[in-house]
């Protein structure tokens, strides 16, 4: 019943070859960087990874690509990643591109027990190929399916010992949805507090979705595009 793991390595120790992982983050923001590193070290292979992006060559999910641990990637945007490009062109990597909003909703749907839903997004485009359509009020919509993962890897700001999570600023992004959609959800966080210390009205992910919580050390939080104004 204790959800708090002693190390990130422990937290991801039963992820197996061939598993489907749903991974939070947008670009390099709010990614579970410690869980990814631990998976790189463990070396599990043939992973299907569902995540909006795929990191960059030397950070985030790019590390698992570089290690050839990913068999299939479901994402909305995979630009700016040379290794991805190589593996995609060589056919080593299978890629399913999904519009970002559809991807977010598919993950939420998976977590919410909804096997399919209709959206106007993508009608008449290549991503409609092979998908069922249906009319509602004279307009055509695509059927999109929910996604459930064997594991969900989440990065949050704070957790309590019951797995309740809060996120910081735009590091929230896909993480709350990803948390819903894992058969086992692993949340790595910057701080773990006692149950009752988070305001019940401000919890972004209720602990019911979270099976394991682990504190990550020394977050790098790399910035992809530093843009500033002069004071």
């Amino acid at each position: 019943m204790n959800k708090v793991c002693q190390s990130v390595a422990d937290a991801v120790s039963d992820i197996q070859d061939g598993n489907t992982l749903i991974v939070g983050g947008f670009g390099l923001c709010g990614i579970p960087e410690k869980s990814i590193e631990a998976l790189q070290e463990r070396g599990v292979n043939d992973l299907t990874v569902v995540s909006n992006n795929c990191g960059i060559d030397d950070f985030g999910l790019g590390l698992l690509l570089a290690n050839k641990q990913i068999k299939k990637m479901v994402a909305s945007y995979v630009g700016e990643n040379k290794i991805f490009e190589q593996q995609f062109l060589s056919g080593e990597l299978d890629v399913e591109l999904t519009p970002q909003g559809t991807l977010a909703e598919r993950i939420r749907a998976g977590g919410a027990g909804i096997p399919g839903f209709y959206t106007a997004t993508g009608v008449g485009t290549p991503i409609a190929d092979g998908k069922e359509t249906k009319e509602f009020n004279g307009k055509t919509y695509l059927l999109e399916e929910g996604i459930v993962g064997d594991f969900a890897l989440v990065k949050a700001w704070k957790a309590d010992t019951l797995g309740n999570l809060t996120y910081r600023k735009t590091a929230r992004n896909f993480n709350p949805l990803v948390a819903m959609a894992g058969k086992i959800t692993i949340a790595e966080v910057e701080e773990i507090v006692e149950a009752g210390e988070l305001n019940p009205e401000d919890i972004h992910t209720p602990g019911i979705y979270v099976q394991r919580v682990v504190k990550g050390m020394d977050y790098e939080k790399r910035i992809e595009r530093l843009t500033v104004t002069n004071a």
Partner: protein, 213 residues
């Protein structure tokens, strides 16, 4: 900024009315933000989970947990809110975004838009573009009128894979402004110093000309 870009951005900002919730695409559309009148209450949405984007941070105050959809470090304005990606696209898909301004590769006379992939080149992905064009109340595309070879990007039919079918409400180029209506594509404005005939010459698409032009 190149002259063409300045023309387009200055014209694009006129699409933004006080009180609107607006999503600006990556690239040239992002530049529109700087031109919004400061007395307007406009909230800019970032599809990664923020309503109320502020300017870039002062050097040294950047926050890795605070980025826009282009992955740039940003700030927030008073009254901003953070939310998750499903909520963000509920806003977009559900028609709560008043205006989306997006870049384009090709726009066809029926309002089709292509802006996400070029066959034969490596696919980077559509990101949120397909959701934005399908869901925003009003979709304005901004792009150069012709490509670097002088070929019209305003087409009878798109040759590139579509981002959305019949989704564009207005197209703003460095030469002209077009609306897409039930009666087809209509030239509604020409840029300063550009004649209707010049627009016709540089445009592959068939369009009518609004009265008084």
């Amino acid at each position: 900024m190149k002259d063409a870009r300045i023309t387009i951005v200055k014209r694009a900002v006129q699409e933004i009315k006080d009180g609107m919730n607006v999503n600006l695409g990556i690239g040239m559309p992002t530049l529109v933000a700087n031109e919004i009148p400061t007395d307007f209450n406009v909230l800019l949405q970032s599809e990664n989970g923020l309503l109320g984007i502020g300017p870039y941070p002062i050097a040294g105050q950047e926050d890795a947990d605070l980025i826009n959809a282009g992955k740039e470090t940003i700030t927030t304005v008073p009254g901003s809110s953070f939310f998750d990606s499903a909520e963000s696209f509920a806003m977009i898909r559900g028609g709560h975004i008043d205006l989306a301004i997006l870049g384009g590769m090709e726009v066809a006379e029926n309002g089709d838009l292509a802006n996400w992939m070029i066959p034969g080149k490596v696919v980077k992905g559509m990101g949120g573009a397909m959701d934005l064009v399908a869901g925003a109340k009003r979709v304005v595309v901004i792009m150069d009128h012709v490509n670097k070879h002088g070929i019209s990007k305003v087409k009878k039919m798109c040759t590139l894979p579509l981002t959305g079918k019949a989704v564009v409400h207005r197209l703003i180029t460095d030469m002209a402004v077009f609306d897409f209506t039930d009666q087809g594509m209509v030239l509604v404005e020409t840029a300063s110093g550009v004649t209707v005939d010049e627009v016709k010459e540089k445009t592959e698409a068939t369009f009518t000309v609004a009265k008084g032009l």
